[in-house]
Amino acid sequence: MIHKPHIDWFALGPEDALIVAAFLLLLMAVLVPRRIRKPASALVCATGYLTAFVLSVLLADKSPHGKPIIADAIFRDRWAAVAGVLIAGCGLVAVLISYGERWRERFVSEYYALLASAGAGMIFFVAASNLMTLFLGLEWFSISLYILCAIDYDLVGSLEAGLKYLIVGAVGSATLLFGSALVYGASGQLDFDKIATAGHTHDPLLVVGLAMLIVGLAFKSSAAPFHMWTPDVYQGAPTPVTAFMSSATKVAALMVTYRVLITAFPGEEHLWTWAIAGIAIASLAVGNIAALTQRNVKRLLAYSSVSHAGFMLIPIAAANALGGRALVYYLIPYCALSLGAFAVVAARERELGTPVTLDNLAGFAWERPFYGIAMATFMFGFLGFPLTGGFVGKFYVFAAAYEHGWWWLIVVGVAGTIVSAAYYLAVVRAMFMRESAELQLMPAGGSPPRDMLLGTGVAVCLAVSVGSFFAVQPLIDVAHAAARSLPF
């Protein structure tokens, strides 16, 4: 007879809200008349994300002491809840960005259903407390994302992106699964905290398993050298999907990586800190250097996201409480910057009907000052300039590395940032310092389509990126509370 565990429905609230939204959306795909299907679907998806957001905030508030629940399958703690808040926030903005996309009406409900399901999977993934739920969550959101990437089969490259992501992602998942099996084989345990206490440190089997786990997670956070899918997928996927992937997936993958390493493998800290530092350096080098030669803005931002994965791995390599705070804090402006940048790309894309390159951004800022200033802010934010949270985030990351005693990691971060100035400012240069007359566009007549929701999304991202510079203390308090759930 199987013992039925007690189920803490409140802790599962955010996931449940999104699953309910996803089911509703699938029903709506056949039941709601086509005329109102698009607004109704977007509304349901947004409501789902909003509910998940509120429930995650409540969950963070009500879970001061982290503990595993539901037969030790998932954690109920602030680390997971704060990640849930971030992911739900990203989802909400992603809905705003998606609405104006010229989809075929046929699959618009399915699109939003998959978006909700991906968010649910990520929120479940960050709460995972054993290797089974870890893999389950990973597959849950990955499969949703594979389909999301390929969903717009009219878009050149969308199918290709989906297929590439599927194949490379499957390799990553398989690696993670194999690693999990090895860790289980070595320690006889599935739960993270029990793996730590099983007392099999320095077992070669465990070390190999750990390495494979890191690789599997690095595929998801698109850290070099496991990033090779990133540029193609980010470029090919519909821009709203790219925006969601580049922000929410990073939150999920990086925060889970930190949790797994700190909770399950404290005995191997001397090994994995070096491994993570190595991956961080590789990502910073590859991402920044490769971005220098890009002309396509989505591809450029894809490489920038690789370099930022590297940057955010620095606090993980630091393996201290300050690093935990640094990661959580940095993710807040990072998500806003990333979503916002892709949103502006989407705006330009809808205006021109062609992929956005540095050349056809010429004069954009003078035609559409709001988007132009927002994009410039996002670029300066990625670069870590003041008046955006990227500045404070950068500072915290360096502080964490220093506290670990690795000042050379600061030097690497500085070197990467110097290189990145060239391509981030290339975007600003294209928008502000070139004239749109150089483009010789065909005058089509009329003004570009107004998209209030997209504008709102960009405004939210702008407010978060700038606001996180001024309201550092409250955000750091949140990050502090979240980081306290991990056993540093």
Partner: protein
């Protein structure tokens, strides 16, 4: 402890910038409001001079507000006497340049004037920040408006110029960020008034390189000629008049005072580099083919001289350096504005195409000659006072630097007189048409106050040099810029008085 005056000086221009950006103004009103805001800013500065107690050498108009607690970072601003003068320089040059831009009329006026105001606010922030991270934030924030101002409104080679400018500065300032993180965490606070001295050479170098790039000093000046040539003249005026002083201020406030040991150890190479920059800049200025090139390289030369004064690390040198910062700020701003006025008349700055502009244009000739005479440090001018103090301070340290520095003043006379004669005298150049007017009322309203200030300072240079480090001459430095908790004089400890 909670005096809003400094914060007002920082935020007023930034608020003005937001107003100009957001309000739907036409070109005339955007310029008028910006000019008005910058004049009000000067008014607030005059108010702060009036309220400043020069007898006390402590931090005044101080305000502190926690920013984030766990790493000990707070919004902490305030002014020392020497910061007061630099803030004054910033507000005055800011007002003059904005008024000039208003008179000239720039395309995309709202963006332009907003950025100019924002730049003024950021520079005031640099001069008043008493927390390292806030200092860094303002230091970086200066770069954004400069980048856009040069990149959008600059000359034909602007894209290359901005790229060089940004790559140099970002590289320097990120090294400083790394140094700030390490230094602040070692000290447990980022508050400049509470941070003790450090003896770590690497940290010192991180700061020194950032300031040396921004100033710029000799081997780091690669961005200078392009940026100064391609920028609109009023932006070049701010860049060389004010922004470069932010770097010299950084040397004075942070590099020298917080790192007395490394300062002592690296003093000889820095003094040698500064001397090379002084002479080399003067020679290049003598050879430069255009008006702005002369001013740009003379700026390099003068920054070398100011650095020499700071690294003399004694009362004379430091007072002279502060005086010379103010002098050079006013002089080079005036000269760049005059260069802009000449270029508007001749459509070129090439010295070979200019000449003979004095005939029929007495006002232009008078103003340019006066500013030029100030620049070459003729005796009785304020620049002479500044250079004399610096050279006297250097002489106390080691006479060779003083001798080379004195030689460089001769070079300054050579390049300034060459500039004056190439523009005003000789035969009429092909680019100078008879239709080119004398200075107009609007232009006079901008440059005459600057020149008048220089003349006033010439009459009473002690207003700045004697009121920069508190009132007690013997203990100026120890009281004013080295405020260790124990009250010990780190500089005196590091630099033997026997010299």
């Amino acid at each position: 402890m909670n005096d809003w005056l400094t914060t007002i000086l920082i935020l007023l221009p930034i608020a003005g910038a937001l107003l100009v950006w957001l309000a739907p103004l036409d070109r005339f009103w955007a310029g008028s409001i910006a000019t008005l805001v910058s004049l009000v800013e000067v008014g607030f500065w005059i108010l702060s001079v009036d309220r400043f107690q020069f007898g006390r050498s402590t931090l005044q108009f101080e305000q502190q507000q926690t920013w984030f607690r766990d790493l000990g970072v707070s919004y902490h601003v305030g002014q020392f006497a020497f910061s007061l003068w630099l803030v004054g320089l910033t507000t005055i040059v800011g007002a003059a340049t904005i008024a000039y831009a208003w008179w000239v009329g720039r395309e995309r006026a709202r963006a332009y004037f907003g950025l100019m105001l924002f730049l003024t606010g950021a520079v005031v922030g640099v001069f008043t920040a008493q927390d390292l991270l806030v200092f860094y934030a303002f230091f970086e924030a200066m770069l954004i408006p400069l980048y856009v101002l040069i990149g959008v409104w600059g000359g034909p080679g602007r894209l290359g110029a901005t790229l060089k400018f940004v790559v140099y500065t970002v590289a320097g300032s990120l090294l400083m960020l790394a140094a700030i993180v390490v230094y602040g965490l070692q000290q447990g606070t980022f508050d400049l008034t509470k941070m003790g001295p450090s003896s770590n050479e690497w940290l010192f170098l991180g700061f020194a390189v950032a300031f040396a790039v921004k100033a710029p000093l000799f081997p780091f000046h690669g961005w200078l000629p392009d940026a100064y040539r391609e920028a609109p003249p009023e932006v070049a005026a701010v860049l060389s008049g004010v922004v470069s002083k932010a770097a010299a201020y950084g040397f004075l406030r942070i590099a020298v005072t917080k790192f007395p040991g490394p300062t002592h150890d690296t003093r000889v190479p820095i003094l040698i580099l500064a001397t090379i920059g002084l002479v080399y800049g003067a020679l290049l200025a003598f050879r430069a083919p255009d008006v702005r090139g002369v001013i740009a390289y003379s700026s390099l030369s003068q920054m070398g001289l100011i650095t020499l004064g700071i690294f003399a690390v004694n009362d004379l040198g430091l007072s002279g350096a502060v005086l010379q910062m103010v002098n050079h700020g006013l002089i080079s701003a005036t000269l760049f504005l005059l260069a802009g006025m000449i270029e508007r008349r001749a459509a070129t700055g090439e010295l070979a195409l200019l000449g003979g502009m004095a005939r029929g244009r007495p006002l232009l000739a008078t103003i340019l000659l006066t500013a030029g005479v100030m620049a070459l440090a003729v005796p009785l001018s304020t620049a002479f006072a500044g250079e004399f103090l610096i050279l006297a301070g250097l002489f106390q340290h080691f006479w060779v630097y003083a001798v080379i520095g004195a030689g460089a003043i001769v070079l300054a006379a050579m390049y300034t007189l060459r500039l004056i004669s190439a523009v005003l005298h000789e035969r009429v150049g092909p680019a100078v048409s008879d239709a080119a007017l004398d200075l107009r009322v609007g232009e006079l309203a901008v440059v005459v106050p600057l020149v008048a200030l220089l003349v006033g300072l010439s009459a009473w240079p002690n207003a700045v040099s004697g009121h920069s480090f508190g009132s007690m001459p013997s203990s100026r430095i120890s009281n004013a810029i080295v405020e260790t908790p124990g009250g010990t004089n780190e500089l005196a400890a590091a630099v033997p008085k026997s010299r």
